[in-house]
């Protein structure tokens, strides 16, 4: 299936501003940064998490623990998709009890990834609270899940694809909407 770029939603400058705003919203809601921990969902959620950790370090002078979560083993469609998905690194090397977990992903879509992440975090410990931060909320939820901090809401059709590109792996910071290319 081929996709073509339909529109650019966010530029590098936009992403930077949004991450700063989201960080301040986190701190506004959670005045005690010492009970915060950050967990990024593989792959791009991890890079966003690193950036937010860095902003918090600058603003509050606190070094927050950062965890990495790969949700593959918790997928509900693992034996239905026909192909075997790669399992990437998961690393949460700190205690989650009584912590507020800021769970970070790039795009919130069906909510199934977040469901997996919640189950997996529970297997690591019992946090006080989990709050969800996403850069893009594109709608079409299939589960009763919502984000606490949203960078930008983008209404999309199900045929479209939202792609978050980050300098760390894609060489550029931007968010684009892709559309299926019609044959012929």
């Amino acid at each position: 299936m081929k996709f073509k770029e339909k529109a650019k939603i966010l530029s590098s400058q936009d992403i930077k501003r949004i991450l700063h705003r989201l960080t301040h919203q986190i701190l506004e809601k959670n005045p005690n940064p010492y009970e915060l921990v950050i967990v990024g969902i593989q792959t791009r959620g991890v890079y966003l998490a690193k950036r937010i950790k860095e902003i918090i370090r600058k603003v509050e002078d606190v070094e927050l623990p950062l965890g990495i979560l790969d949700i593959t083993l918790y997928r509900d469609d693992l034996t239905m998709i026909g192909e075997v998905p790669l399992v990437k690194e998961t690393k949460i090397s700190f205690d989650l009890s009584d912590k507020v977990v800021i769970l970070i992903d790039d795009v919130l879509f069906t909510g199934r990834t977040v469901r997996c992440a919640l189950d997996e975090i529970m297997d690591f410990g019992r946090p006080k609270r989990i709050e969800l931060l996403v850069l893009i909320d594109r709608g079409h939820r299939e589960l009763p899940i919502r984000a606490d901090f949203v960078g930008k809401n983008i209404p999309t059709s199900k045929k479209e694809l939202v792609e978050v590109r980050l300098t760390e792996i894609d060489g550029v910071d931007e968010v684009v909407i892709l559309e299926k290319e019609e044959d012929g």
């Binding site: 918790y74 075997v84 690591f124």
Partner: protein, 314 residues
């Protein structure tokens, strides 16, 4: 997505180098899972794994059992000594009976070499070979190679020496097929009676003199002298075997400083390896056991989540 099409894992011979690398990547992720507070993920939830051991085994069976449980599968252990096989039921009937439970994966150990492909006709489950006669023991070779790769960083161009009872060893054959796929050179060493001449055809070097082989090796795998398999004597006495082929404090001095000394276990201390070397050698052997769990989780995950059909490559 990873490139995996195999329904069964019957031998290293059938696997491509890319497929072996897929197992290694997964195994590395699964090692992390075993270090968590809750050492379990729901990847194979609702799947049934039957450990079907027609030959006795403790290590491989417990390793597969734990691997399946860590992935949330339901596990049934079947061993021939406590089953109807002792009442005269045939192996095929046993598999047909178990098929009524609709298992998803059968982990089979069996005394007959190369028998698993024919047994796969009687079940719709995936089969993972846990040792078939003197043919193959794929997960042992995968864990050996994974362990070497973890420490050496690569499997490329190593000099691998396998010492002991080559004739009866499925571990030797699987390791030969495996390491050769990464362009490592293989040498087998042991008493002439325990090295069939046909091993030449596998492209391995044959030596009957351990002292001569030690200085070149990057990896040495000592095999267990399987007294239960040797119906006739292949060497005059254990003492003579020890004199010629046991790793002693004297002999270890002749090996490279970073040479990895491995053993599939259980070690007969003072036969294959001198007990004076226990403190030095045992940690790596225990690491093999740890990696074995991760590698077996990877194999169960791969055959448990794929939907491809098995193609016989022979």
């Amino acid at each position: 997505m990873v490139n995996w099409q195999k329904k069964h894992i019957l031998g290293i011979k059938d696997l491509t180098r890319q497929e072996i690398e897929v197992v290694f990547n997964l195994a590395a992720s699964f090692k992390e899972l075993s270090q968590r507070e809750v050492k379990k993920a729901p990847a194979l939830r609702g799947k049934t794994v039957i450990n079907l051991f027609f030959e006795s085994s403790t290590r491989t069976r417990t390793s597969f059992e734990l691997a399946a449980k860590r992935l949330s599968a339901d596990v049934l252990n079947f061993s021939s000594s406590t089953s109807s096989l002792s009442k005269g039921e045939t192996i095929v009937d046993t598999i047909k009976n178990l098929e009524s439970y609709h298992p998803d994966i059968l982990v089979i150990r069996i005394g007959y070499s190369n028998s698993l492909y024919s047994l796969s006709q009687y079940t719709s489950a995936s089969i993972v070979n846990a040792g078939d006669g003197a043919n193959e023991h794929p997960t042992q070779a995968l864990l050996d190679m994974f362990t070497v790769k973890e420490i050496k960083g690569t499997l490329e161009g190593l000099s691998v020496l396998i010492v002991g009872d080559i004739k009866h060893s499925r571990v030797a054959r699987s390791n030969i097929f495996g390491f050769q796929k990464f362009s490592s050179s293989l040498r087998v060493c042991g008493p002439p009676t325990l090295i069939p001449y046909e091993f030449h055809k596998l492209g391995v070097d044959i030596s009957y003199n351990l002292d001569e082989c030690l200085p070149q090796a990057d990896v040495i795998i000592f095999l267990r002298i399987q007294q239960e398999r040797q119906t006739s004597s292949f060497f005059p006495s254990i003492r003579e075997y020890v004199n010629n082929f046991s790793l002693t404090p004297e002999r270890i001095k002749r090996t490279k400083k970073d040479c990895l000394i491995m053993h599939p276990g259980p070690v007969n201390w003072d036969i294959e390896i001198s007990s004076q070397l226990k403190e030095r050698i045992h940690p790596l052997i225990l690491k093999q056991v740890e990696n074995g769990l991760a590698v077996r989780m990877a194999t169960l995950y791969l055959v448990g989540t794929q939907k491809g059909e098995y193609e016989n490559t022979d």
